[in-house]
């Protein structure tokens, strides 16, 4: 039965096997190519060889109407499957998938009933042909070690690691391609796999079903075939496919899974997502390296790799001479010789780069390692490929939230305490995170409290296009928003930006993104030295903490982080307040004010350190006057500075000994926007009064803008009263007279009010 079937056991995403596979196909010239892949998606195959299709791309499938349960099959340019498909389409050879149809996978995926329970980890087996069929629900819940190195997934990688290689491709090259006695490679690989399979337990139900399905499909092709048939599948499966099983037994294995309608399409993929340590693992550790191996001829591999490294480093501003490249390559060859390898591979090239080009400084290499090893290319999908999932999800969400896209502007008030309000708000926030500005949040300052939101809604047709562009981040709005926020992480500079991202992730109910961002935030906070940066980070985190309460989000880590940044800021505050120019002092003052509000708002444990720091600033002669004034005022307002102390302090700062600019700065810091205080505080007023009277005319004119700023927000009445007070006229105290019999009157009054209130309540 094996007669005319040629089995090509490949390494998924292995450029080495891709190259050999093409040679073999040319040799065999099969009349049909069968590929390990979901058999119900064979219709989509021809699109892959479309001239505008640029890998990496992925095949995406989900049960109709449930895009959140998507499964992906990524293809890179160096994937043997991709090359085989391109070859077959070019030659006009029929090509189809032979693995189990998609609906077989569904039971493994989380059902829609528990989709909202983020804590339930889906039970996903790692048995897919391209690595794990990750449910996108939990792209990061499985640590890479678990999924990455299992023997079934990447048996060749496993063999390589046993042989002491970090990278399976280097091993493939050294052992298989550089073998001095080349033989039929695929037969040798099949033998190795047979030996490996003999040493582990026979495949379990699902695995067995897959292999049974493939055997049946091969048999079907064989019946009508007029020539050789090529089967391209993971090396692991070859021995099982070659084995003889009765068709009846195989059919027996394929019973019992309900058929479902499946939607499928192509979606652009990215190089980082091919990498093993990012979300939807494709099982490739270093896609950048694999791509390099595919694109360059074997003779030039090390040279071109070194040249690319040099170019990357130069772009980073490192000085790399051509001579160093020569030396580095020679060193790589020497290391390979010591390790007994026929050719410098991945590890040797890296060791040599660090020693020769980076002067032993590994950090320099790390700065370009991602770009070199992973790469940053993004796939392109030709026009005309249905890009449904996100739009479908949007329609579904619109139905759930009962929000209709309307071109006319309309206002929407949401109460986050109600289920529907929260639901709607979340959708709008998520769309905003995706750059789809359907709803604009009015008054984002939150003066309406944390439970209310006012949105302005308006749908523009181009939003559909913008939404679809986000497909690269995920198949549903939730996943895409999560992906997009995480992807924007490396670009975020400064604590302020990061804490805004956390806030965004939280309001959009994206716990996974929020967790990622807060880790980044925490890391950044540890390294931050700029006090200003830390201060600006505090208010958004405080907002996030308050919003977290309204939105049932677990904020444990953020509260700790807030305290930590606040303590750090408090420690640095004292030094940072010295020697600032006008402009810097202004911004710094605003930041202090914001941070102070934030710290009090959430009642942080850092409050005592914060007050201490403010006190230090007040006592510090070298602190910038404006900041000193602001600190004194914050202390005064929180009763940390008694009225007497404030007067003494103000008197000292405004005494003739201090320069006009310093005194004015302190005055402004202390009283800006709080002039009304002077009406009531006799001692403060006289302090200021004395000072102003002392100022000579020229300085007074100079200081006028400050006075204006301080007193401008008093209304006419208040100004009048201040003037009267300042000019020493007797203020018209409101007189309070105790009226006889008022007790009786009062209780009657209260009763009336009570009855009115009660009556109302009864009516309702």
């Amino acid at each position: 039965m094996v007669g005319d079937v040629h089995y090509f056991g490949i390494r998924h995403h292995g450029p080495g096997s891709a190259r050999r596979l093409l040679e073999a196909l040319e040799d065999v010239l099969p009349v049909e190519v069968l590929i390990e892949g979901p058999s119900d998606l064979s219709d989509l195959i021809p699109m892959l060889s479309h001239q505008d299709m640029v890998p990496p791309v992925a095949l995406l499938a989900y049960p109709a109407g449930e895009p959140e349960r998507s499964i992906f099959w990524p293809f890179a340019v160096f994937s043997p499957e991709y090359q085989a498909i391109c070859w077959a389409v070019k030659k006009g050879v029929p090509v189809r998938f032979i693995d189990l149809p998609v609906y077989w996978r569904l039971p493994e995926l989380p059902s829609s009933e528990n989709e909202n329970e983020q804590t339930v980890a889906p039970n996903v087996e790692h048995d897919s042909r391209f690595g794990s069929p990750r449910s996108t629900e939990s792209p990061t819940q499985q640590p890479p070690e678990q999924s990455g190195f299992s023997i079934e997934r990447d048996p060749i990688g496993a063999l390589a690691r046993v042989a002491g290689y970090e990278d399976g491709e280097s091993w493939w090259q050294d052992v298989i391609e550089e073998n001095p006695e080349p033989g039929p490679i695929f037969a040798a690989v099949a033998d190795a796999m047979k030996a490996l399979r003999d040493s582990v337990a026979p495949p379990k139900e699902h695995e067995a079903a897959r292999e049974a399905h493939m055997r049946l499909e091969i048999a079907k092709s064989l019946k009508s075939a007029s020539g050789p048939i090529a089967v391209v599948c993971g090396a692991w499966h070859v021995p099982a496919l070659k084995e003889k099983h009765s068709m009846k037994d195989d059919r027996e294995l394929l019973k019992g899974v309900a058929k479902r309608k499946i939607s499928a399409t192509w979606t652009p993929w990215t190089a980082p997502r091919l990498a093993i340590d990012s979300g939807y693992a494709a099982g490739v550790t270093y896609p950048g390296w694999n791509k390099h191996l595919w694109e360059t001829s074997r003779k030039e591999q090390s040279t071109r790799w070194m040249a690319r490294t040099a170019r990357c480093l130069r772009e980073q501003g490192q000085m790399v001479s051509t001579a160093s490249l020569i030396e580095a390559e020679r060193l790589a060859v020497a290391i390979a010789a010591i390790r007994g390898r026929p050719r410098a591979g991945f590890e040797e090239l890296i060791d040599a780069t660090v020693a020769c080009i980076c002067y032993g400084n590994e950090i320099v290499w790390k700065s370009v390692a991602d770009k070199m090893l992973v790469g940053d290319e993004v796939g392109v999908i030709p026009e005309g490929v249905p890009l449904a999932p996100l739009l479908e999800d949007l329609q579904k969400q619109q139905k759930i939230t009962r929000l209709k896209p309307e071109a006319l502007e309309r206002e929407l008030m949401l109460d986050l305490r109600s289920e529907s309000g929260l639901c709607r708000s979340t959708l709008l926030h998520r769309l905003n995170a995706l750059g789809v500005g359907w709803g604009q949040l009015d008054d984002p300052g939150g003066s309406r409290g944390t439970f209310r939101e006012r949105w302005i809604l308006r749908w523009e047709p181009e939003y559909s296009v913008q939404l679809v562009e986000n497909l690269i981040y995920g198949a549903t709005i939730e996943q895409a928003a999560t992906g997009r926020i995480i992807a924007s992480l490396p670009k975020a500079k400064g604590l302020g930006e990061l804490s805004n991202l956390v806030f965004q992730a939280l309001t959009a109910q994206l716990p996974e993104a929020a967790a990622k961002v807060s880790v980044a935030l925490e890391h950044r906070a540890g390294l931050a030295t700029d006090c200003q940066e830390m201060l600006t980070a505090l208010p958004p985190i405080a907002d996030a903490l308050r919003y977290g309460k309204a939105r049932h989000v677990d904020m444990g880590q953020m509260a700790v982080l807030f305290d930590r940044i606040a303590v750090q800021a408090a420690l640095g505050l004292h030094h940072a307040s010295r020697g600032l120019d006008d402009e810097a002092a202004g911004t710094f003052r605003d930041s202090i004010r914001g941070a102070d509000r934030a710290i009090r708002l959430i009642d942080s444990v850092a409050l005592s350190s914060w007050l201490e720091a403010l006190r230090d600033i007040v006592d510090d002669e070298r602190a910038t006057a404006l900041i000193g004034g602001q600190a004194a005022r914050l202390l005064y307002e929180s009763d940390q500075l008694s009225s007497d102390e404030a007067v003494t302090l103000l008197g000292r700062k405004l005494s003739p000994g201090s320069t006009m600019s310093e005194a004015a700065g302190f005055f402004e810091g202390f009283l800006e926007g709080a002039g009304v205080r002077l009406i009531h505080d006799q001692s403060l007023r006289s302090c200021i009064n004395d000072w102003i009277l002392e100022i000579d005319e020229e300085s007074f004119v100079e200081a006028l803008p400050i006075f204006r700023r301080v007193f401008s927000n008093l209304d006419k009445m208040e100004r009048q009263r201040l003037l009267v007070a300042a000019l020493g006229q007797e203020t018209q105290h409101t007189r309070y007279v105790v009226t006889q019999g008022i007790d009786h009157c009062w209780s009657e009054h209260v009763q009336t009010i009570a009855s009115i209130l009660k009556g109302r309540a009864d009516h309702e």
């Binding site: 000085m319 001479s321 001579a323 160093s324 030396e327 020679r330 060193l331 020497a334 290391i335 010789a337 010591i338 390790r339 007994g340 590890e347 060791d351 040599a352 660090v354 020693a355 020769c356 980076c358 002067y359 032993g360 400084n361 590994e362 925490e522 890391h523 950044r524 906070a525 540890g526 390294l527 030295t529 930590r564 303590v567 750090q568 420690l571 640095g572 030094h575 350190s609």
Partner: protein, 358 residues
């Protein structure tokens, strides 16, 4: 039993070298005693014909492979790392294994001049006979070139930049001109240079770019593993204490563990559980530094604290080791105390005393 205090590596480990040589079947570069593979085995341990070779260097094998491969090409090797990471130790053993001679060594200092690098003159001869080969006094470098062996330069960055640069011709053209005699010395095959340098100390002379790119640089890291580092420190502390006749304190291991935990966190820039990022001070906080902190602590304990090591006695030394820059490092330590140590109950004595001292 000889009266020599310490023999060079090639004598101390002569048996290892002989065993490796006897079983060596890999090709040897010209001028090498052992093949590169055997040199690696000699350093990181292994077996040679039934004899087990003790590791001379405990750590990443890839580092040693890169270093040996460098010497097998004609590039010079520069071992970098903070003090106390076994740079000189590795350099000595490599020279011993490659050339069978680790004694061609130049200790570079601020006072090293060109005559100590290139060649000097025997002035009596010079006056009597004029410039001649007999009047020339060869340096270890010159002798290494002539004999085709390894020359070691210790603490390369300690000597002045102008002197360092005399090495450029030697390293790139493998020859040393002697203009006085209108001749030159050409290096024999097998000649190479192993230099060591430390990159964290203040007051070193940076290598010029021209010289730097004639070296392959291999950085020797600090021990990865806390347990391993604790063992190293405890052993060295008790050795030093014995030689200083200090009585042994009972709780050395506990205190070493706590001090090292603080050192390692500050050094690595994150807490041991990897959850909190912290800033690192400008000080090196190497294993060697931890040893000296513990030894001073022991001496304090012996004379002032009834032989018990305590946070009180150690804190001043810990502070001194961490705060090298009075402004920056102090801020770093303050932050560490407030954000990390304050929350740890078992470190409360360190927190209190350090906060008081700072």
């Amino acid at each position: 039993m000889s009266d020599v205090l310490r023999h060079p590596a090639e004598l101390t480990y002569a048996d290892d070298l002989a065993a490796l040589k006897a079983t060596d079947h890999h090709p040897k570069p010209v001028g090498w005693v052992l093949s590169p593979q055997s040199v690696v085995t000699y350093l990181v341990g292994g077996t040679a014909g039934g004899r087990s070779i003790d590791p001379k260097y405990v750590g990443n094998r890839r580092i040693i492979e890169t270093a040996v491969a460098t010497l097998a090409t004609d590039r010079a090797l520069l071992l970098m790392g903070i003090p106390g990471t076994a740079k000189s130790w590795v350099s000595e053993h490599m020279a011993a294994a490659i050339s069978g001679d680790s004694t061609k060594i130049i200790q570079c200092t601020a006072g090293t001049d060109e005559n100590q690098i290139r060649y000097g003159w025997n002035y009596a001869q010079l006056l009597a006979k004029g410039p001649s080969r007999e009047a020339l006094v060869p340096t270890p470098l010159l002798r290494a070139m002539e004999s085709g062996s390894i020359c070691r330069l210790e603490e390369l960055t300690r000597m002045g930049s102008d002197i360092q640069d005399t090495l450029i011709t030697v390293l790139s053209e493998k020859m040393l001109p002697i203009p006085e005699l209108n001749s030159a010395v050409y290096a024999q095959r097998g000649f190479n240079v192993i230099a060591t340098a430390n990159d964290r100390d203040k007051g070193v002379n940076e290598l010029s770019a021209a010289l730097k790119r004639r070296f392959n640089v291999v950085v020797l890291p600090l021990p990865d593993d806390l347990e391993e580092e604790i063992r190293i420190v405890t052993r060295r502390v008790s050795e030093t204490a014995q030689s200083l006749n200090l009585p042994e304190a009972k709780n050395v291991v506990e205190e070493v563990t706590r001090v090292l935990a603080i050192f390692r966190e500050l050094r690595s820039g994150e807490t041991a559980d990897g959850k909190v990022t912290i800033k690192s001070p400008s000080s090196t906080l190497s294993t060697a530094e931890a040893i000296s902190v513990m030894v001073s602590g022991l001496s304090h304990a012996a004379y002032f604290n009834n032989g018990v090591l305590s946070a009180d006695g150690l804190a001043a030394n810990v502070l001194g080791a961490i705060v090298k820059d009075p402004v920056q490092d102090k801020a770093v330590l303050e932050e560490y105390l407030e954000t990390v140590l304050k929350k740890r109950r078992d470190y409360s004595d360190y927190y209190t005393t350090l906060t008081e001292l700072i």
